[in-house]
């Protein structure tokens, strides 16, 4: 086709249709802190109910933000022996343990070439503030292998500025593969029992194959170990959200 100029017109593809699905409601991101889920056992559910009431009460007075393993947090606690009676520690959360009021989380940082890990109780009344400086999920639930990784992966600036994050977006997953120090390590992280995806193993193929000898492929099919928490979580989520609204 020839236009008025006489030159052939460049083909303009038709504009792609933009489908705005107004019917689909944006799913509200539900996060239930893992310490609310009761462990499997023969304890009376009344005990968990009473513990949850205390936890909700504490959360009403003091805001415990949503955080996962891999987030960088700054925690200020009241310390009777410090100068200003408060001490602040910044670190990456490597583990969240415990259930109920005794829930803990471990923060790791490297300060002046010395690795430091501090284990805090979530519901300790001496904690004055927990700030999330950077939201970032990692590939694993337990980052204890950072102890055997090169120190650059555990160093975080103590005066870091909080990185902004929009509420409705998904928490980003950092697919970082961490380089390790030479063996020996504190635990044999290459074994399938730890199921670690976040390490870049530089070991020879023979060692990796030998580590697979300790794999237990029947474990994922073991029905007695199954603990389906979906219904329990739904009930507890309703209870907790109602408790926090009041």
């Amino acid at each position: 086709r020839v236009s008025s100029d006489g030159k052939p017109e460049k083909f303009q593809p038709p504009p792609k249709p933009v489908i705005i699905d107004k019917q689909k409601q944006r799913e509200e991101r539900r996060f239930l802190s893992p310490e609310f889920i009761p462990p499997r056992g023969r304890t009376d559910p009344l005990k968990f109910y009473i513990e949850r009431k205390d936890m909700i009460q504490r959360r009403k007075v003091f805001n415990i933000p949503e955080f996962y393993v891999g987030h960088i947090l700054a925690v200020t606690t009241a310390d009777p022996y410090a100068n200003e009676k408060t001490s602040r520690f910044v670190g990456i959360c490597i583990q969240r343990g415990g259930k109920g009021l005794g829930a803990t989380f471990v923060l790791r940082n490297v300060i002046e070439d010395q690795g430091v890990e501090v284990c805090y109780d979530l519901y300790n009344p001496r904690i004055q503030a927990i700030e999330v400086l950077k939201l970032e999920k990692r590939l694993d639930d337990n980052l204890m292998y950072l102890r055997d990784a090169l120190p650059e992966y555990s160093t975080f600036d103590v005066n870091m500025k909080p990185v902004s994050h929009l509420d409705h977006e998904e928490v980003p997953v950092n697919k970082l593969q961490v380089r390790m120090k030479p063996k020996p390590w504190s635990k044999r992280w290459e074994r399938p029992k730890y199921n670690i995806k976040g390490i870049k193993f530089d070991l020879p193929e023979k060692k990796m194959k030998e580590a697979q000898k300790w794999s237990q492929p029947w474990l994922e099919f073991d029905m007695l170990r199954e603990y389906d928490t979906s219904k329990i979580e739904d009930k507890i989520w309703k209870e907790v959200s109602e408790g926090l609204k009041n």
Binding site: G41, R42, T43, D44, L46, K47, I50, E51, D54, Q57, R58, V61, F62, A78, D79, P80, K85, G100, L101, G102, D121, Y123, N124, P125, R126, I127, Q128
Partner: protein, 242 residues
């Protein structure tokens, strides 16, 4: 068991004990019991009446109360006698009191001498022939006999033991739960006897306890939770050191 924090920021571990359907069953006078004080029989958790004989059920029928799983005796002074059939609640105890808790320990079955009595055993190597966890010598030559009560392997656990002087931190009157300091003998959900402490250090600890007991239909209306003075309550803001 659960953690509890004081206002100074210290953490203590606490055991929760539930007072489930406790009733007074019978009053035994001083002369009838043959002891120094009169006794009160108290029954615990409700259970099915069908697995006990008629004669055993008589006590419960007299008191007008369903069959109880655990029946204990309490030595009681004459001014603290309660009518059989009255229910007992957790509010009988108050925060700040000291308490002794008795229960049957977890049964471990037939156990060897190392686990049962803490013997050291023998080395694992250096020529030991088939002897690593044995008691070794059981008596001397001169004695020419084994003394009675010699520590030897046997059934371990499943006996009554008491932990003394446990502080009561908190009472929940709605669900009848007593928060008692430290650990208590017995497995989870086992039946337990809670008694005012007999230790001489805590003789004068009880200031104005509910005497003879807390009556639910009385005039006193208690709040849902009773706390000790030193406990950090979660309604308060975080602890600071001035």
């Amino acid at each position: 068991m659960m953690p509890i924090w004081t206002k100074s920021g210290k953490k203590h571990a606490v055991t929760l004990l539930k007072v489930q359907d406790c009733h007074v069953l019978r009053y035994i006078s001083k002369e009838a019991s043959g002891g120094k004080t009169s006794k009160l029989l108290v029954g615990g958790k409700n259970a099915s009446p069908f697995s006990k004989s008629e004669s055993a059920m008589e006590i419960f029928k007299e008191a007008g109360v369903p069959r109880k799983q655990k029946v204990t005796t309490f030595n009681v002074t004459d001014d603290a006698i309660i009518k059989p059939g009255t229910p007992l609640y957790a509010a009988h105890f108050r925060p700040g009191q000291f308490v002794d808790v008795t229960a049957k320990t977890i049964g471990k079955g037939f156990q060897g001498v190392m686990k049962r009595w803490g013997f050291k055993g023998q080395p694992a190597s250096h020529g030991q022939t088939k002897t690593h966890r044995r008691p070794g010598a059981i008596s001397t030559n001169k004695a020419a006999k084994v003394y009675r009560g010699k520590k030897m392997p046997g059934k371990m656990g499943n006996i009554y033991r008491t932990s003394f002087g446990l502080k009561v931190w908190r009472i929940n009157t709605k669900h009848d739960i007593i928060y008692v300091n430290g650990s208590v003998p017995g497995h989870t959900n086992c039946l337990v006897k809670v008694r005012d402490s007999q230790l001489p250090t805590y003789k004068d600890c009880n200031k104005n306890p509910p005497f003879p007991t807390y009556f639910a239909d009385g005039d006193e209306k208690l709040p849902e939770d009773l706390y000790d003075e030193e406990i950090f309550q979660f309604t308060d803001p975080s602890v600071t050191y001035a």
